[in-house]
Symmetry: C2
Subunit: 203 residues, 2 copies
DNA sequence: ATGCTACTGGATAGATCGTTCTAGCGATAG
DNA sequence: CTATCGCTAGAACGATCTATCCAGTAGCAT
């Protein structure tokens, strides 16, 4: 037994984590199919044995785990902006502004940790498709809840959350493709105005 | 010489077109890296010789051509909704409604012909990245122009065009991942309201 | 008819793919 | 001391990848 954490071996320095981090970055930047297991091992400094020890299901299990991990990271990011008690209009504005800065500063390589893999595998791997759907839903729930907390009708809150999600995801696609932040800035302004309007129309 | 069309051989029944159609569908559904040239040839019924005859640059040149072709098809689709003289509010509403129907009827396999490949190759192939950027820009230009024709300030028209683009692309991602049309419907309503508002605020 | 060009057909090469397998290391428990 | 267990290490495998190569066919022009 011995137990530490959630079943993860934390003894050496976290080989499992290193593999997960490396695959997350490579999947996010190059996609799932284009990323070879060998590249992941090279980037993480782990041998084959370790990968199949921690992820007996092979590349697909690693894909699911990487989506879960990326989803959790982004969920915490959303929480950090749209945490309980946050000024939602200001949070929206800052979220998009900061997203633009991050994407630009990373040379337009990193944006959504999941989108590329989600589109690639939506039709070919149910486990990965479902993992991506869970991650997206968890982000939406945060926005939805905050809007409802602020007094917005649940159905409207859901719709606005979806609008913000689609805005940033579409903008990430445009940004990575054109190597500009034009779209992120444009939809950021629109999203901010939208949130302001939906909050402003309350009793 | 002989000449016909834009340098394409149209003699037999269009082997080049069949290759292009097959790769377009496979790239759109599975992505670029996960689609082998063998699968493309099998789907199109063409031999290796033909592929490298028509696309000497190999898979990457085929990728660029498929993006160009997919971009053109979608450009015509946008034109068919947002053609000169169209009712922009109605066109927006119908565009999203019809998009939801198509995606659902195709089992959530087909959505944007370019998005998956664009995300995959944005960081690894400049020719493909640029092709995708050209395609996106050509769609945006149509929307932009119609809005300007309707009297919208150019900068606002650009922003609204980007908003619509990001809305549909983000919704396609959500739809393919969740196998629902929830997002397309939500952003469709928001987009329609947005276009109505921006047109309604004119002199 | 003959030569020319466009295209077809597929075998083959060389690299890389994901996975499996066995051997062994190092720390901890008995 | 010895057994056990978690993990490391990488060789090896069959499959599949993209690309090359060349022989063969069909249609057109002269």
């Amino acid at each position: 037994m011995e137990s530490n954490g959630a079943g993860r071996a934390s003894r050496p320095a976290g080989t499992r984590e290193r593999i997960l981090d490396a695959s997350g970055e490579l999947f996010r930047r190059r996609g799932y199919a284009a990323t070879g297991v060998k590249a992941i091992l090279a980037a993480s400094g782990a041998p084959y044995g370790s990968l199949y020890h921690f992820f007996p299901g092979g590349k697909e299990e690693l894909g699911v785990a990487a989506i879960d991990a990326g989803g959790a990271v982004y969920r915490e990011l959303v929480e950090s902006y749209f945490g309980s008690g946050a000024d939602l209009v200001d949070a929206t504005r800052r979220f998009f502004e900061d997203a633009a800065a991050v994407v630009r500063d990373h040379g337009y390589a990193d944006a959504c940790p999941i989108a590329t893999v989600a589109l690639e595998t939506a039709g070919s791997s149910e486990p990965m498709r479902e993992a991506a759907a869970r991650a997206f839903e968890s982000w939406l729930r945060i926005l939805e809840r905050r809007l409802v907390d602020a007094g917005v009708e649940p159905a409207v809150a859901r719709a606005v959350a979806l609008e913000l999600f689609c805005a940033i995801e579409g903008a990430f696609l445009h940004s990575r493709t054109t190597r500009t932040t034009e779209a992120i800035e444009a939809v950021g302004r629109a999203a901010t105005a939208r949130v302001r309007a939906v909050l402003g129309s309350l009793g």
